[in-house]
């Protein structure tokens, strides 16, 4: 019961933070979508970091380390510490500048304007929405599974079918309601405040759990020395080419619609400075403790001297097992709150981003901006957010567990689309036809690899390492090649558009 109370208190606090932030809502659509472009350095850092980190940062990292040792840090987080900030610097800041100057709010608006093509918007919209929805579902299902795991036996008379655990449908329903309550009221402003709060929670919880588990295992050195030393190395846990080609995955942040919207909330270009510097450190602070907990699990013993885990222990259960056995019920509840925080800090931004896209890229685009008052646009967005939350929750009730590998593939899809945003910003000769070809090439190769992975194995990208190379490399290559070839054989964009998006630089 302790865990349930802590989760309830945490969710109540979150609603409180969200609703307090909504008091600062200025009542305009500009405020609802991009916080009047007024966010400062601290809130930008916390909201961007919270949005990019998912439950994988805590649950997946410890499980990955349990299975593959330290290799999981270098594969995922190690590349992110360099490449996330690089994407923020070379892509995010430029998009912020164009967004501020030309009033873009969504990626589709930017691409339509940059390539003078409505058709590009129609091709890109379903692809982006199609990639975000499984990502949302994974978050909801993950939250349901986490709470079910830690509340097992807590309420046997209420939830008989789940052995006394809070059932996933209830957890995901409550989470949807909580997130919707504050994003409905304050839009992106509330999402940014809530993300900052949630980021604090999951970072602190990772460190506290780490410290307490280390103490109970006799200190860091003793805990590590007792662990399986095959997990201390990369050899045998990951291939050289697979390790290297993982660098494509962090490029996915360049195409996340929700991150695009967070970038646009920045007040100035200099607002990005803190994010660029602190993001790598934050990744390290969150990931390293969880990686070590995962490694320690390979050698941890029960009080009666039996191994706590075996080869058959599910990787994603490792963090929960370690927390349950080596901390208190209070901390177990707090760590669960931390995992929920990591999940929800992505969910809220994704809901707002999808609501914004349906409002701006579909309704306002089709009917014309003058057709609606500013107030009506806000209510349209709220309506779409409510509809998307409800629809996602209903799908989550029927979504099979196979949705988890699909979530992993979403990152592959976003990463493979990187060339289209890169050429939009750095290649004057890139054309709408080229970018459309790039999107289609991504979709086709993505479907081929995804289908192949389901036929050949468990449906994860790791099942189809062609010559030891991550499939994202091939899909990325197909996209880049299609953009390049088709752009070169089609009519270049007009001089006006080129001048608009490639202004003369200061002589220096």
């Amino acid at each position: 019961m302790t865990q349930i109370w802590i989760i309830v208190i945490y969710l109540s606090l979150l609603v409180g933070v969200g609703l307090i932030s909504a008091q600062f809502f200025r009542g305009t659509s500009r405020d609802f979508f991009v916080v009047s472009r007024s966010i400062g350095p601290f809130l930008l850092l916390m909201s961007v970091f919270g949005t990019t980190m998912t439950a994988f940062a805590m649950v997946g990292s410890s499980g990955g380390a349990f299975k593959d040792g330290i290799a999981v840090y270098g594969k995922v987080a190690g590349w992110s510490v360099l490449l996330h900030s690089a994407v923020f610097f070379f892509i995010g800041m430029k998009l912020w500048a164009f967004g501020k100057r030309y009033g873009h709010v969504t990626q589709i608006q930017f691409f339509r304007a940059r390539f003078e093509s409505d058709a590009l918007g129609y091709v890109l919209f379903p692809v982006l929405v199609g990639l975000v929805i499984p990502y949302l579902l994974v978050g909801l299902l993950g939250a349901g599974a986490t709470v079910q795991g830690v509340t097992r036996g807590a309420l046997p008379e209420v939830f008989t079918s789940t052995g006394g655990a809070v059932p996933p449908w209830l957890t995901s329903g409550v989470i949807c309601l909580v997130v919707m309550s504050y994003v409905f009221a304050g839009g992106m402003r509330s999402a940014a405040w809530a993300n900052a709060f949630q980021t604090c929670i999951f970072m602190v919880m990772a460190v506290v759990a780490f410290w307490m588990i280390a103490q109970n295992l006799g200190g860091m050195n003793a805990a590590t020395m007792a662990a399986d030393d095959n997990k201390f190395i990369r050899e045998g846990n990951v291939g050289q080419l697979e390790y290297f080609t993982y660098f494509f995955i962090p490029l996915s942040v360049a195409m996340f619609p929700h991150l695009f919207q967070h970038w646009l909330t920045a007040k100035r270009a200099k607002t990005f400075r803190l994010t660029l510097i602190a993001h790598p450190i934050f990744i390290m602070i969150t990931w390293i403790p969880c990686i070590l907990i995962g490694i320690w699990a390979t050698g941890a013993m029960t009080p009666d001297g039996m191994p706590l885990t075996s080869d058959k222990t599910p990787a994603n259960a490792v963090l929960g097992i370690m927390v349950k056995n080596f901390t208190t019920p209070v901390l177990s509840g707090l760590v669960t709150a931390g995992v929920l925080a990591a999940i929800m800090s992505s969910l809220d931004s994704q809901f707002v981003a999808l609501g914004t896209m349906f409002t701006q890229d579909v309704v306002v685009k089709a009917a014309g901006k003058k057709r609606f008052s500013d107030r009506q646009i806000i209510w349209l967005a709220r309506g779409f957010i409510t509809g998307i939350v409800l629809l996602t929750w209903i799908i989550s009730l029927f979504a099979p567990k196979a949705i988890f590998p699909l979530g992993v593939w979403c990152f592959t899809g976003f990463a493979a689309l990187f060339p289209i945003v890169f050429v939009a910003l750095y290649w004057k000769r890139a054309t709408a036809a080229g970018v459309i070809a790039g999107v289609l090439a991504t979709a086709v190769t993505w479907i081929i690899f995804f289908t192949w992975s389901n036929v050949a194995g468990t449906g994860r990208p790791g099942d189809v390492l062609l010559w030891g190379i991550n499939p994202v490399a091939y899909i990325f290559g197909a996209c880049a090649l299609a953009v390049l070839v088709v752009s070169l054989v089609t009519r270049p964009p007009t001089e006006d558009t080129v001048a608009k998006y490639f202004p003369q630089k200061n002589p220096s």
């Binding site: 840090y73 510490v81 501020k100 201390f232 050899e235 270009a269 450190i281 390293i288 200061n506 220096s508």
Partner: protein, 83 residues
């Protein structure tokens, strides 16, 4: 208004990023079982790498900042077309 970072200086820092990209690959502790202060050596390498990345971004911000981006966003008809 601060003086914009020179092109040469910017390319120097972009070069540093390329070097960091190369050094992500742990050629040194790939199969070393050594433990340093309770942390496997490969993970210590990762921690050091992460810290160096943060420091490099601090230097980029300090010495290679694109001031013209701010001017571009704020100048002209800035932001009046849309939201």
């Amino acid at each position: 208004m601060s003086k914009p970072a020179s092109r040469r200086r910017r390319w120097f820092f972009y070069g540093l990023l390329v070097i960091l990209f190369v050094f992500h690959h742990d050629y040194f502790f790939w199969d070393w079982h050594i433990v340093i202060g309770g942390i496997p050596a490969g993970l210590v390498y990762d921690m050091l790498y992460s810290s160096i990345c943060a420091f490099t971004w601090w230097m980029m911000v300090r010495f290679a900042w694109p001031d013209e981006l701010e001017e571009f966003a704020d100048s002209g008809e800035g932001g009046k077309e849309g939201l």
